[in-house]
């Protein structure tokens, strides 16, 4: 076995529908790092978890899918040696600008989560904030996990969190438009809103997400930025199989970043995995 899918070939399931949503042609939300940061840069709910792990790690940290550096910057400020990988050149550029403005110079590489190669090994590899869910197939998931494992120092830790479908999500009417985030623009004070219309593909475990980020102009008119994204969820039992197939020796699965047990209605699946 080469650590990815062995010599095996998994033929696709009978349905692997292309996204049918009207918004599927819209750009990825990562095409607009400025809007992304407006909505998400103030989030800090996961700092305690990842900062805690980074402090406990005895060696460098790799932030996979680091984006604009929301989690990386607090680690740098805490004196931690962090490198970053991201697929989006635009997100990475903004991450670099923010780090440099504070006098940091992390190594940032543009690469896919499933195909990165860094010149050193890490005490902690982390994939914060649901980024692992961008791996849409088992092949991508396994390739990502294998790359992470290969980049771990002998007693290194892989940690990541992904969403887990709750009963409410699973029974939500498909395509219903929901206000997900609302913030005040730091310059104008006017609201910036993120609406999301989700459709779940249960068989393929993919959530199709048509998003609108709406800003208000001076005259009160709505400026609409449509985005589209697919996210693949992983059931807890399936996650254990993926970790095993990717060569991890042991792991813990949690229902939250506070390390509460996985339960029937927990919205997060948090993974800590060791290769030895």
């Amino acid at each position: 076995m080469d650590g990815v899918r062995g010599a095996g070939q998994v033929l696709p399931l009978p349905v692997r529908p292309a996204p049918t949503s009207a918004g599927a042609s819209a750009p990825s939300p990562y095409a607009r790092p400025d809007l992304y940061d407006l909505l998400f840069d103030s989030l800090d709910y996961d700092f305690e978890f990842y900062l805690g792990l980074a402090r406990a790690a005895r060696g460098p940290v790799l932030d996979v899918a680091c984006g604009t550096g929301r989690v990386m910057l607090p680690l740098l400020r805490a004196g931690i040696d962090v490198d970053g990988v991201d697929l989006s050149a635009a997100m990475l550029a903004r991450c670099g600008d923010k780090a440099h403005a504070e006098g940091f110079a992390p190594r940032l590489e543009r690469a896919a989560m499933a195909a990165f190669a860094m010149p050193r090994r890490y005490a902690l590899v982390m994939i914060p904030f649901n980024a692992f869910a961008h791996n849409l197939t088992s092949d991508e998931q396994l390739a990502c996990l294998a790359r992470c494992r290969e980049h771990l120092a002998p007693d290194g830790l892989l940690a990541f969190d992904v969403f887990s479908p709750t009963a409410a999500m699973l029974t939500e009417p498909p395509g219903a438009r929901v206000l997900e985030v609302e913030v005040a623009h730091p310059d104008t004070g006017r609201p910036v809103r993120l609406y999301d219309a989700r459709t779940l593909d249960i068989v393929n475990q993919v959530q199709h997400s048509s998003m609108d980020i709406e800003e208000l102009d001076e005259a009160g008119g709505v400026v609409r930025h449509p985005f589209y994204s697919d996210l693949r969820w992983v059931w807890p039992v399936e996650m254990a199989l993926l970790l095993r197939l990717a060569g991890f020796a042991r792991w813990s699965l949690w229902g939250s970043l506070q390390r509460t047990p996985v339960a029937g209605d927990t919205a997060d699946l948090v993974v800590e995995a060791w290769s030895a």
Binding site: R5, G6, A7, G8, Q9, V10, L11, L13, P14, V15, P17, S138, P165, A167, L170, T171, I202, V203, N204, Q205, W235, P236, V237, E238, A240, L241, L242, R244, L245, V262, A263, G264
Partner: protein
């Protein structure tokens, strides 16, 4: 691991056959698959011969394995009544040894879901794989979970089926309780058998299944050492077991896996 525990919903062949008398849709499929196989066929968890007897009647060289001695005895009688003969072996699907290798091994109608742990699942898949010829295939038929249904499985009782079989009206009430983390459903079941002019016969039982998501099944087969696999979608064997273009929650998945 040579455990030989009674299966989890051991109910005896007479009641089993009455409860599942309306499950016939998959028989033509298995007959066709067995006839197309280039070599002998093994039905794992053959039970009382619901599928195995028609296979033998169709002239297929088929053996059967089951953990339940009473079910096997009923299978033997059913097959003999049809003028057939089969090698029937009592054994645990997780750890069995048959004296030959098969072009097709199959587990019909959700019986694979009696494997309640990942270790059980993998042991069963590996035991089946060991019994295949080089080009042989394993086929499994199991339902694709429907979250909308599973979320309703809170222990509340509902009528699960009602049909007429062997001159009796058989009504089944199920009170399923799903654990979405462990992927298990525990079912408390009541059965009432009514015959003209007789007191109704009433029974209760409990059993459990561990369901499997489509993507997870592919991973299990891969971990168990299968090199290639395919999944097809069909309607329930309680209905026509008809092929579908697309797999929908609640449909049946028919997995075929090859060792090479």
């Amino acid at each position: 691991m040579t455990r030989l525990e009674p299966p989890r919903h051991h109910v005896g062949p007479a009641l089993y056959d009455l409860m599942y008398a309306n499950v016939r849709g998959d028989i033509p499929y298995w007959v066709a698959r067995a006839q197309a196989a280039r070599g002998p066929v093994l039905e794992v968890a053959c039970g009382s011969g619901r599928v195995l007897a028609p296979l033998l009647q169709a002239g297929v060289d088929a053996d059967g394995l089951d953990a339940d001695a009473d079910m096997l005895e009923a299978a033997r009688a059913r097959i003999a009544a049809a003028g057939g003969r089969a090698r029937l072996v009592r054994g645990d699907m997780r750890d069995f040894t048959m004296p030959r290798r098969y072009a097709l091994a199959f587990i019909a109608f959700n019986s694979f879901l009696h494997n309640m742990t990942r270790a059980d699942q993998l042991a069963t898949l590996r035991a089946c794989r060991r019994h295949l010829t080089r080009e042989g295939a394993l086929e499994l038929a199991l339902f694709a979970p429907d979250p909308a249904k599973l979320l309703e499985y809170d222990g509340t009782e509902h009528v699960s089926s009602e049909h007429v079989a062997d001159g009796a009206t058989v009504t089944v009430w199920d009170a399923p309780l799903a654990d979405v983390v462990a992927q298990t459903t525990r079912v408390r079941r009541r059965v009432e058998i009514r015959r003209e002019g007789q007191e109704p016969e009433r029974l209760t039982m409990e059993f459990a299944v561990r369901w499997i998501w489509p993507e997870e099944m592919a991973l299990l087969l891969e971990v168990a050492g299968f090199a290639r696999m395919r999944v097809a979608a069909r309607t329930s064997p309680r209905e026509a077991f008809a092929a579908r273009d697309t797999l929908r929650p609640g449909d049946f998945m028919v997995w075929t896996a090859w060792t090479a």
